[in-house]
């Protein structure tokens, strides 16, 4: 009986607080993306030759996210039949956009005019366990260019 009550409480906590946090996070991401939209970020530029004098620096941004109890539960249901796991897609989208924003913010602090050769990396740093653990890191890095 107790375990059922605990399960329902955790599920509710995950659903209500989790989705509220997600909503406000998406709102804050959209707002910061707007303010940083002047800074172009490109995935190209690895072999480009730069003749004009400029400064460059490695910039990066990272974020570690974990899924909530509700998402974990939904995932365990979906994994029985397979198919799209929308809740996880949302979570990883949040992480990618946040990591990119942190990269752009540090490039903006450096005074960059562009970021080239952007690369993303994702690593699982905590595997799923019975208690609902599980977290992954999204890491974005690139070269910030500052023309003199």
């Amino acid at each position: 009986m107790f375990t059922v009550i605990l399960f329902v409480i955790l599920l509710g906590l995950g659903y209500f607080i989790g989705s509220a946090v997600e909503k406000s996070h998406f709102a804050s991401i959209a707002e910061r993306e707007q303010t940083l939209s002047y800074l172009p970020v490109m995935t190209t530029g690895k072999k480009e030759q730069f003749d004009a004098p400029c400064n460059s620096q490695l910039v990066y941004g990272s974020v570690v996210v974990g899924q909530d109890y509700f998402k974990l539960f939904i995932f365990s249901l979906i994994s029985l039949v397979g198919g799209r796991v929308t809740s996880y897609e949302k979570l990883i989208e949040r992480a990618r956009r946040e990591a990119l924003l942190r990269l752009k913010q540090s490039a903006a602090d450096y005074g960059a005019e562009a970021v080239i050769h952007l690369r993303f990396e994702t690593a699982v740093i905590m595997t799923n366990n019975r208690n609902g653990g599980g977290a992954f890191e999204v890491f974005a890095y690139g070269t910030a260019l500052q023309t003199k």
């Binding site: 946090v21 030759q49 004098p53 400064n55 460059s56 909530d68 977290a135 890191e137």
Partner: protein, 109 residues
């Protein structure tokens, strides 16, 4: 962020400068374990999901350490820049993760 003595990029050149000497591969790695307080907090945070700030900080510290080691190595070789830098992250045990960073040390004008 990296120290000012060495310019680090993840492209094949240092923009606006010419590479005059190549010193080969330099690397740096760092393994950090999460401490129990952070683990506990992250476990609680895991109930509602979202960003696990403690882990983000931990990985950033680890990454800075790995970058610093790579830069020190390049500095000792006499390089003043590192090009084509790449990162690799691996969870080597349940409680620890390794960050490995490598690149090519060069001297630019």
């Amino acid at each position: 962020m990296p120290n000012t003595k060495i310019t680090v990029t993840n492209i094949e050149t240092i923009p606006g400068k010419t590479i005059i000497e190549n010193y080969g591969v330099v690397q740096g790695s760092s393994v950090r374990a999460k401490h129990i307080g952070r683990d506990l907090m992250a476990g609680l945070k895991n109930l509602v999901g979202g960003e696990l700030v403690g882990y983000t900080e931990l990985l950033n510290e680890t990454r800075s350490e790995a970058l610093k080691r790579m830069e020190d190595q390049a500095f000792h070789l006499g390089a003043n820049a590192i090009v084509n830098v790449r990162f690799a992250t691996s969870a080597i045990s349940a409680g620890a993760s390794e960050i490995f960073v490598y690149g090519t040390a060069v001297r630019v004008q």
